[in-house]
């Protein structure tokens, strides 16, 4: 019953996702422009900590794909606030499903849409000239899944602290963008001064981006096993956290 409940919630998320075609395209706009214009603009820049044979666009693309997964995942987690605002959450809360099931169902549903968006972005990046190692596509999936679950779960945890949707802009500007900029997605973290660099070590997305980059272009600043373990531990922590916080919310 509970497993089936997770499936039902997942199915709803997916149905809504597929139906909102303009949102699928729209939300890919910004990352595509990031990739295209930064990639072209910096294509001849010399970055000391990058190997000679690695072009900037190859360095950048895994970061941009991670960005898409980060943003989509967090958005769909936080979108529980919409459901609360428009009342639909109540329909779920009075059903026989347990709170844990509800929170897990939303996490898996949101993570799935984030993974689809990330994969779409990966394909789009081929058009801009990104040429990843083909076998790396499989490894990159593991990292995408972990990034997606971590940040969808984190989005749900954040949503339990929000009263209404007005806090959304705050989440984007003061949570998502700093996470993104301090993850090594746009430049190697070894280029950062020591203080900022130590911040990136605390950022779970750093390990996601690094793992993606290792998978796709075989360049990384940490060992991929370190990336994988840190992300795995973090995603388990986030699932426990979001379930715990969701458990305590009253929809009244």
């Amino acid at each position: 019953m509970e497993l089936y409940g997770i499936y039902v919630l997942w199915l709803r998320d997916l149905k809504r996702y597929i139906r909102a075609r303009s949102r699928i395209i729209g939300s890919l706009g910004m990352p595509i422009f990031f990739l295209a214009f930064l990639g072209i603009g910096f294509r001849r820049a010399q970055i000391p900590s990058l190997p000679e044979n690695l072009s900037y666009i190859d360095f950048l693309a895994p970061g941009i794909v991670s960005m898409v997964v980060l943003f989509t995942g967090t958005f769909s987690g936080v979108s529980i606030v919409w459901d609360r605002q428009f009342g639909f959450l109540r329909e779920i809360m009075v059903s026989p499903l347990s709170r844990t099931t509800i929170s897990l169902g939303r996490t898996i549903g949101g993570a799935t849409t984030a993974i689809i968006q990330g994969t779409l972005m990966l394909f789009v990046s081929f058009l801009v000239g990104f040429r990843p190692a083909l076998d790396g596509l499989i490894y990159s999936m593991f990292f995408m899944v972990l990034i997606a679950i971590s940040f969808t779960g984190l989005g749900i945890a954040i949503s339990t602290l929000m009263e209404d949707i007005h806090g959304f802009q705050l989440v984007i500007n003061f949570f998502l963008f700093p996470l993104f900029f301090l993850s090594g997605a746009l430049f190697p973290i070894s280029e950062l001064p020591p203080f900022l660099r130590s911040l990136t070590y605390l950022n779970p997305l750093t390990y996601g981006v690094d793992g993606m980059r290792w998978s796709l272009v075989r360049f990384s600043e940490f060992s991929p096993l370190v990336d994988l373990s840190v992300l795995f531990v973090f995603s388990v922590f986030v699932i426990l956290l979001s379930t715990f916080m969701f458990e305590r919310t009253e929809v009244g």
Binding site: V8, R19, E250
Partner: protein, 337 residues
């Protein structure tokens, strides 16, 4: 399931509430309320906005935890066994809770799945409930294209789709125009006739309680101040009532009437006399006023309603006539949170 004597037959109790209370900080929203609802009954909670109706419903639906007291739905305790309670109830909230991005059918399908109905059963039932609320032609339309009345009908259909034993309707016609409201009443009546279900509804519309309910509990400030069949509640104020507004103070007039053995209470505007065939009393009242130099400004005769019962018990009206409908809705919604 426990049974109680009621009339000649034995009927199972669908809802049993014992001394249920809910505090919000220092405010007591529901104060030691007790009642029983028998299977198959339509039970109304009538009272002004903010009387505690919605809070009471939310406790029974396991959305809020009671401060004290207990309640059972279909034999399951709302605190000890919330998931069993949830399986046995359907709810239509004041605020819409549909997914407007999905079609009517998809909303119902999702609901059926949430309650563990299998595919075949679900599809049959979706057709059945859509037909009952007259939406069978709109099954595949997105809910955001529905009018307010249609959305409400869909919510009611969804509420009883999974064969709940008890259906809760919280202000089912709030914010709807009069015509739509009558339409909704027809559908609720149909549900009650065609489904094996107990309905408990809250309302602050007198006509709604009178039209739909077998028994009504009148609630004010978190207390049940009267509970009986609509008929017997009305009998408390007699068949009719006369509202009188006089010039100056009404206290003396009230005393005079009392000494003439009339049942009279003070209201906000003046006074109200309750009696069987009240029109026969009008000449007597006028001569009483003339003899004592009291000037009557206006007289109105009314068929008795539950409104009068409420006035008799509290000295106030359930609805303030002056406030606009829209304001009303807004306030009610806020109270609901």
């Amino acid at each position: 399931m426990k049974i109680v004597m009621r009339g000649e037959e034995l009927q199972p109790v669908a809802i049993r509430v014992e001394n249920l209370s809910k505090d919000f900080g220092s405010l007591r929203a529901v104060n030691s309320v007790s009642f029983e609802v028998v299977s198959g009954e339509v039970f109304g909670l009538l009272g002004p906005n903010g009387a505690g109706k919605t809070t009471l419903i939310k406790m029974l639906c396991t959305l809020l935890k009671p401060t004290s007291g207990k309640a059972e739905i279909a034999g399951f305790d709302i605190v000890k066994n919330p998931s069993e309670v949830r399986k046995n109830i359907g709810i239509v909230f004041q605020e819409p809770t549909l997914d407007v991005e999905l079609t009517a059918k998809e909303n119902l399908d999702f609901h059926g799945r949430l309650y563990g109905m299998d595919g075949k059963k679900r599809n049959e039932r979706i057709k059945e409930v859509l037909k009952l609320v007259g939406l069978e032609d709109r099954a595949d339309e997105l809910v955001k294209k529905f009018s307010g009345g249609m959305q409400r009908r869909l919510e009611i259909a969804r509420g009883f789709m999974h064969f709940p034993k008890v259906l809760f309707l919280d202000e089912p016609t709030l914010g709807l125009d009069v015509q739509t409201r009558r339409k909704i009443w027809e559908y609720i009546d149909k549900v009650r006739k065609e489904e094996d279900i107990t309905i408990i509804l809250t309302t602050h519309y007198i006509e709604e309680a009178e039209n739909l309910c077998d028994r009504v509990a009148i609630i004010d400030h978190g207390n049940i101040i009267a509970l009986d069949t609509v008929e017997r509640l009305k009998n408390r104020v007699g068949e009719d009532s006369i509202e009188i507004v006089t010039e100056g103070d009404v206290s003396d007039f009230i005393e005079l009437m009392k000494s003439a053995n009339l049942r009279v209470v003070r209201t906000e505007e003046g006074l109200m006399v309750s009696a069987g065939e009240a029109e026969r009393l009008i000449p007597q009242i006028f001569s009483l006023a003339n003899k004592n130099g009291i000037v009557i400004k206006s007289v109105s005769l009314k068929k008795s309603s539950l409104e009068d019962v409420f006035i008799l018990l509290t000295g106030r009206k359930i609805r303030e006539e002056s406030s606009s409908g829209a304001l009303h809705v807004m306030r009610a919604r806020r109270m609901g949170r």
